[in-house]
Amino acid sequence: MDPAEHNFQQLLVEQAALHVERLPAFEGIAVDRLDYSEYYNLDADDGVCWVPCPPNGANCRSKSAETEASSSAGAGGNWTGGFGPARSLRLSYRDTFRRIGKEVLHKDNAARVMAMNCNVLCRIDQIESFDLTFSEGSSLNGVAWTGLAMPTILWTYSLSGKSDASLDAFFQQHLLMNVFPSAPMPKNGNQTHLLRCRVLAARDADSFFHQIT
């Protein structure tokens, strides 16, 4: 799904607005995974991207002599299909995050949180609208870069069986990179649930939730 498609983007913005409107204690959202933004929408054109595409694609163009030449030089690799315009979902995600932030969650300087689980893909250029990252995976040094601009939390997986020295190393490496380890919780699963529980902790949260879903 390309969130820059107008109707879909409008739906996402309206969903966020409904949360603010109907959940009195609503504190924010956590966006789960940034890695899907690496895909391209071959049915759109952002004016920049020019990517490989199936030869029978609607917007796909045959290889030109110029492309053939660059392909033989290595730029196109062994790709035998065509090339054509596309829209990078990086741009789509960024634009949608910006709208949700400016038009809803951060409107009038409201103190609502936009958190991001960037998974294996922490890109500085994708986090301008966020207040913190809350990421899965084990790439401690990778997620640490988001700490240039905002608090950074990394999920903690199993620490069972680790020696005292290993535990010291675990916590000290987090200190070194200014990354906060997530708190202990039973059944470490998808820990964006932690944030979800926090958001829905208000009295009557369930009934509000069912009203809007």
Binding site: A111, A149, P184
Partner: protein
């Protein structure tokens, strides 16, 4: 699997031991200056984080707090750190003094904040200072450098009543008192909503 409760006391003990160090660094951001801190003697890994200037800081409080995690050292060892601080933290002219304190893991009680242990006050010479730090039993700690308020660069938040509402002669900026922003009074405007 980590779990709350007494089922795995060792892991929880480590969370409690290091928790105050993380709490102390809350809000700090990477300090992007070229090698502001390095290990000149001994073995450890270091980094530098800066707690952003507090625009509405209490009178007399340090203008900047620089946090230096000193980790992965040998238990019981000491290291010497070379601090090279620049104008971004008010250390351009040299001769500034600053307080240095350390917090070691496991020195707190329960989940409370571990106390900062003050080291001797240190003077910057040409923006550079050397600090000797004992790393403690776990070979790691967080060091805090509290730079004194700058003397040569007047703050727009002076608390001199005689200058209230008038341009500061040194900066030509209209001086506002902390009270103008409701500093310290719950329920009044925060900086985010008023700036």
């Amino acid at each position: 699997m980590i779990q709350p409760g007494p089922t795995n006391g060792t892991i929880e003990q480590h969370y409690l031991a290091y928790g105050p160090l993380f709490t102390a660094m809350r809000g700090a951001r990477w300090y992007l200056a070229p090698r502001p801190v390095s290990v000149s003697s001994g073995k450890a890994d270091v980094n530098a984080m800066l707690l952003p200037a507090q625009q509405l800081r209490p009178p007399g409080a340090a203008e900047y707090d620089l946090f230096v995690p000193v980790v992965n050292g040998a238990p019981g060892s000491s290291v010497s750190l070379r601090l090279e601080l620049d104008a971004a933290v008010g250390a351009a002219t040299g001769g500034e003094t600053f307080d240095v304190a350390v917090m070691l893991p496991g020195t707190g009680t329960g989940a409370g904040l571990a106390p900062w242990r003050q080291l001797k006050q240190t003077t910057l010479v040409g923006g550079v200072a050397t600090v000797s730090v004992p790393l403690g039993a776990k070979g790691g700690l967080v060091l805090k450098v509290s730079l004194a308020q700058k003397k040569q660069q007047p703050s727009i938040f002076k608390t001199d009543d005689s200058l209230h509402g008038k341009p500061n002669p040194a900066t030509n900026v209209v001086i506002l008192l902390a009270d103008d922003f409701g500093y310290g009074e719950p329920g009044k405007r925060s900086c985010r909503s008023c700036c």
